[in-house]
Symmetry: C2
């Protein structure tokens, strides 16, 4: 591919020539830079960094985040917490309401095994279930109350939080130690200034919620906010104590579209092979919706995403359609793609893309790649 050669990306392709496609290739050097940048941003703001492990789903990368200064990790499922605990993590926040008895008992087992385990709650019903199970096991579970700062997903408003927090504080077997939220960038526009405003708003809403709760006599220690696009701005607000970004370790095309990073900072790309060139303006690759996540779609925020991935070295190419095993790329009619060419693509959303792959290939600076099973992939429980 002469286009790609011209842009210097052919070296990495040569180095990974032996890999079967489609697969995810991760550049180790870029991970290091991304980990370091977020750790420094957190340190600068004086907040704890508790990365969400959903992006990589790999204990070895969580350990590297800890080594760079993270105080613990975040997951969404008890099954993910189990994988991460088995991989050496000792401070895990399940930022999700556990409702089922089996899940709650699994969480308690982790806690009894010596993990500092924190669980999200956003309802009295959910908190009561945690309370009963913990009392039965003779232990105390640490919980954080989820605040809705505008996403209208889970969580309660700052005002509703006061009554609920009092009820939770009255339950045995659980200890309410903090509040958390996820707001993301979807409410913001697409520019860095918008993100700054959105992050500041997120931080202010949480700081204010903590104040209201403390005024009501609830001891709130941790005030925890998301997310890769908003965390560093939210962290600037007095009263925020912790950030939980996830995507930053790899970055992705959505983050680049938000202005959070450059496309070159994206550590994870999909390597795919051209299997057909049925027309001058159409290239078919061997990866479709089983290879690239479709949960961040063209036409949804961030609005100027065209297609499902960025083709490295060919910014005009558009991965416009996908079936499960086919990716249909609109290309310039004069472009030189041939059957057998290997392309690299930056997916729109890397977290859900990683979840589709049993393994990823981590490539070192020397060009050697290593297959790493995605240990916490497909953990739904």
């Amino acid at each position: 591919m002469s286009d790609m050669e011209a842009q210097g990306s052919i070296m990495a392709l040569n180095a990974i020539d032996e890999l079967e496609t489609p697969c995810i290739v991760i550049e180790n050097g870029k991970i290091d830079a991304n980990i370091e940048a977020m750790a420094q941003a957190a340190a600068r703001c004086g907040v704890a960094l508790r990365p969400h492990a959903k992006t990589h789903k790999l204990p070895e990368l969580a350990l590297r985040q800890l080594a760079a200064g993270a105080t613990g990790i975040t997951v969404a499922k008890v099954s993910e917490a189990e994988v991460m605990a088995a991989g050496g993590m000792r401070d895990i926040f399940i930022a999700y309401s556990l409702v089922g008895a089996k899940k709650i008992n699994r969480a308690i087992r982790l806690s009894l095994a010596g993990v500092r385990l924190i669980v999200g709650v956003d309802s009295l019903e959910g908190a009561s279930r945690l309370s009963e199970a913990a009392l039965e096991q003779g232990t105390v579970l640490e919980v954080r109350l989820e605040i809705d700062t505008g996403l209208h997903r889970t969580g309660v408003s700052a005002n509703a939080a006061i009554a609920l927090a009092k009820q939770i504080a009255a339950l045995g077997g659980i200890r309410l130690s903090g509040i958390f939220t996820y707001r993301g960038a979807m409410l913001a526009g697409a520019s860095t200034l918008d993100l700054q405003a959105a992050g500041h708003e997120e931080g202010r809403l949480m700081s204010e919620a903590a104040r209201l709760l403390r005024d009501a006599g609830i001891a709130i220690e941790d005030v925890s906010v998301g997310s890769t696009p908003t965390a560093i701005y939210a962290a600037e607000i007095e009263g925020v104590t912790e950030i939980r970004p996830g995507t930053y370790i790899y970055q992705d095309r959505m983050q680049a579209a938000f202005g959070v990073c450059s496309l070159k900072a994206c550590a994870a790309t999909v390597l795919a092979t051209v299997v057909s060139r049925p027309a001058d303006d159409l290239v078919i690759i061997d990866g479709g919706s089983k290879t690239f996540a479709t949960d961040v779609q063209p036409g949804h925020p961030p609005l100027y995403l065209q297609g499902f991935a960025h083709v490295v070295g060919d910014p005009e190419a558009v991965l416009a359609r996908m079936n499960e095993e086919h990716g249909m790329i609109s290309v310039h009619p004069s472009s030189a793609y041939r059957v057998g060419d290997r392309l690299r693509l930056v997916p729109n959303h890397i977290c859900s893309t990683v979840n589709l792959h049993n393994a990823v290939y981590i490539v070192d600076e020397d060009g050697q790649s290593r297959s790493v099973p995605v240990a916490a992939r497909g953990m739904l429980e």
Copy 2:
């Protein structure tokens, strides 16, 4: 859930009360009915039935399709073919162009091991690679030429097929035995009449392509067409010899929207738990885009799909938004959903939904469920 009780679906929920959510539950009786209906339709039209295994990805269900009269199976990847061969399949069509040397050699190994293996081709470049590898191994691979009948994905036009088929026929190591196409329902409207017209068109285009090739001296034995929505109509056209539907074994909400089946015929549902009820008109379940595929989106064909799944027993509920672990269901403010309730949902697209799950639970008529690992899940190579 009083709504669901009223509709009689509570019995199945009781029977699977012990399952952790989110998970896929499959009703065995419905599978039997769906397998039988398609087998009878194929027999009625006098065509061979070669189901696409991408829907279930389970050797045991492929064997049941064979027992009901299927002549072989279809897959998209050599890795899927390997799983299916290990599960007892002896007649496998990889309806996909194999381009990489490793993949081609893996296909040849299956062929040498006694599997009747057929491989798709749609370019001279691809055919030459197969030819060279087969000659090197001293064997002959059976291939089918892919015809584009309007989807503009892979495949060549009937006219272009003549020259290409002659070139392929001149290569050693491969034997061109047939032609195939995939058209699907996306080109059709949404009514049964539209599908009938689309299926007839697909059959006529393929029958005509076979005639052109035979007139040019190419011996075409197999004329193979898709798909769950169009297969039974395409099969009515003289000259079509084989159909390759996949989804029919489970059916899904997209097929129901196309008018192919009723929602009650859908054998596979997602079982999920309500984890939050943050507002009267909003219910949050513990499954999002890691649980439900997003490749068939609201607002795309079939156009009257609202949301990402149908909530069994509550047709007004809309699974309107998803993040990876959260499903946001808009509900009637008076509905009685509570934290801890378990719901069943029919996903828009079951094939890509199954691909997200490490296992499915097959429930027999006696209500006993059995976990079955999705053996060919995540096979990308």
